[in-house]
């Protein structure tokens, strides 16, 4: 019986590897599709915005449809904190529903923050569009990457800490109950502390993603404000955020599933105490690495 498990694990590994290769081969087509689709959706939004400006209230429908699809398609590319969400899903014992909730909250917060920034900037500060875009590119983008890099480093440190303790043997059976709701943290912390920590973690995650508004949303808001259709612009940007949340939510669920697979496989092999902290360490390092690259190139 004991011999079966390594074989199962081997099959699983091969299946995952095949999926990974298929993903790589598919990648170029997906990228082209995303770009072509975005072009169509931008034109649809332009058409609808002009129709609304001309007094056609029915054009709200095509604007919302185009904006929502734009959010979904656009978020397939990097950004919107997807790699952070995936890193957290791989690194921590969080449920798909909870991480999906974080994805939704950060997309909506990102959209709301874009509205506050653009409309508030125009209305209260009488800022120019150039100043608002400049603020986003020069300060908010690096702030977001910096915050994401810091969270990645924190994940990695927690992983390292857990690895170190598991090598002591003291935490080797501490994971029997995790993976079912975000409260199976590494270590003997009380439920209260865990809840507080995960609330803080959640706020930090949402904040790090939302602080940098999406360029497409900024463009739409600038257009809507100048064309005196501010309400339509704000509504469309919130719908765009829902579209984005659909994509990041899928990433959240996938990453939680990938962790569950790893967990199942390594539990059968009796190496759980090593693999999960190691996964956390690697995920945290990967998040920090990506964010640092973006930070460096974004500021160059």
């Amino acid at each position: 019986m004991r011999m079966i498990f390594p074989n199962v694990a081997a099959l699983l590994a091969i299946a995952l590897l095949a999926a990974s290769l298929a993903h790589a081969a598919f990648w170029g087509d997906l990228a082209r599709w995303v770009v072509a689709e975005q072009r169509v959706l931008q034109n649809d939004m332009a058409l609808a915005v002009r129709a609304i400006r001309a007094g056609d209230i029915w054009a709200w429908f095509p604007l919302m449809a185009a904006a929502g699809t734009y959010g979904f398609v656009h978020a397939i590319g990097p950004g919107h904190g997807k790699f952070l969400i995936a890193g957290v899903g791989l690194a921590s014992p969080v449920s798909g529903a909870r991480l999906g909730g974080v994805a939704l909250a950060s997309s909506l917060a990102q959209a709301a923050w874009a509205i506050v920034l653009v409309y508030g900037g125009f209305w209260l500060l009488e800022a120019s569009a150039a100043e608002l875009i400049g603020l986003s590119e020069r300060y908010l983008a690096p702030a977001s990457h910096g915050a994401i890099a810091a969270i990645g480093a924190l994940l990695a440190l927690r992983g390292l800490h857990a690895l170190w303790r598991s090598s002591d043997g003291s935490a080797s059976h501490a994971h029997q109950s995790c993976g079912c709701g975000g409260h199976g943290g590494h270590g003997p912390s009380t439920a209260e502390i865990t809840r507080l920590a995960s609330f803080r973690d959640t706020v930090a995650l949402v904040f790090s993603i939302a602080i940098r508004p999406c360029t497409g949303a900024l463009f739409l808001l600038v257009i809507a404000w100048q064309m005196d259709i501010a309400a339509a612009g704000a509504a469309a940007v919130m719908v765009m955020g829902l579209g984005t949340a659909t994509t990041t939510g899928l990433v959240a669920v996938s990453s939680v599933a990938a962790r569950a697979l790893t967990r199942t496989a390594s539990q059968r092999l009796g190496v759980l105490a090593v693999t999960l902290p190691a996964l956390q360490l690697v995920s945290g390092l990967a998040v920090t690495w990506f964010a640092s690259v973006f930070l460096r190139t974004g500021m160059a």
Partner: protein, 215 residues
């Protein structure tokens, strides 16, 4: 085996992350080649036609309202022409000229025009060579791209030869996606939507090219 399972699961998770850098602006470009009677390239004439969404953004950004008939008045045209040709020194204007594979500098834009074609803004300008370049021995090549891929610039029509240039021919060599290498993909994959790429001139790998040769 365990470590492989773990690594592959991690790879799956991470491979779902980056897909591609995203352009935000779509530009259909046209290129005219000004060739004199001695078969020398004097200048290129560039036309940019922006997508309808970005056109709205440009107009909102500059506070310009088109007439009900969808036209721009003279001050608006002048303002747009100015803002589109007031370039930073290191901006290449989405076009790089080379002669016998050696880069050739182009002057800042002159003879600038701006107008609306339907719901799209068109900017047209010329860029002269410092000295006319003889084409009898070498062909000239112009790569059209945005090095940051923030603008997706594609050449929308075959090049035209302007001036009295018998014996010269220009062809469009469109970018073909199957020539995209693993290296490019890996490099793009590391980009955020909004970021500039870590390697210089990534857009060059997607460039549509124009080749001009004379007998």
């Amino acid at each position: 085996m365990t470590i492989w399972t773990f690594l592959t699961a991690a790879a799956i998770g991470l491979s779902t992350l980056p897909a591609t850098a995203h352009p935000h602006v779509f530009v259909d470009a046209r290129i005219g080649l000004v060739v004199d009677e001695k078969a020398r390239l004097e200048a290129i004439r560039v036309t940019w036609l922006f997508d309808a969404f970005h056109t709205l953004y440009i107009l909102a950004f500059d506070g310009i309202t088109p007439s009900p008939a969808g036209t721009l008045d003279a001050p608006a045209r002048a303002q747009l022409a100015r803002s589109y040709t007031d370039w930073q020194r290191d901006f290449d204007g989405f076009a790089k000229l080379s002669l016998a594979h050696e880069p050739v500098a182009l002057d800042m834009p002159s003879d600038v025009g701006a107008r609306l074609i339907g719901d799209r803004l068109e900017i047209t300008f010329s860029r002269a060579l410092a000295e006319p370049a003889a084409l009898s021995e070498f062909s000239a090549e112009i790569s059209v791209f945005d090095s940051s891929y923030y603008h997706a610039v594609s050449v929308a029509a075959p090049p035209t030869i302007l001036g009295d240039a018998r014996g010269c021919a220009a062809v469009l060599i469109p970018f073909e996606s199957h020539t995209q290498t693993a290296e490019i993909r890996a490099s793009l994959a590391s980009l955020s939507r909004e970021e500039l790429p870590p390697i210089a001139d990534i857009g060059a790998l997607f460039a549509d090219r124009i080749r001009l040769s004379c007998e």
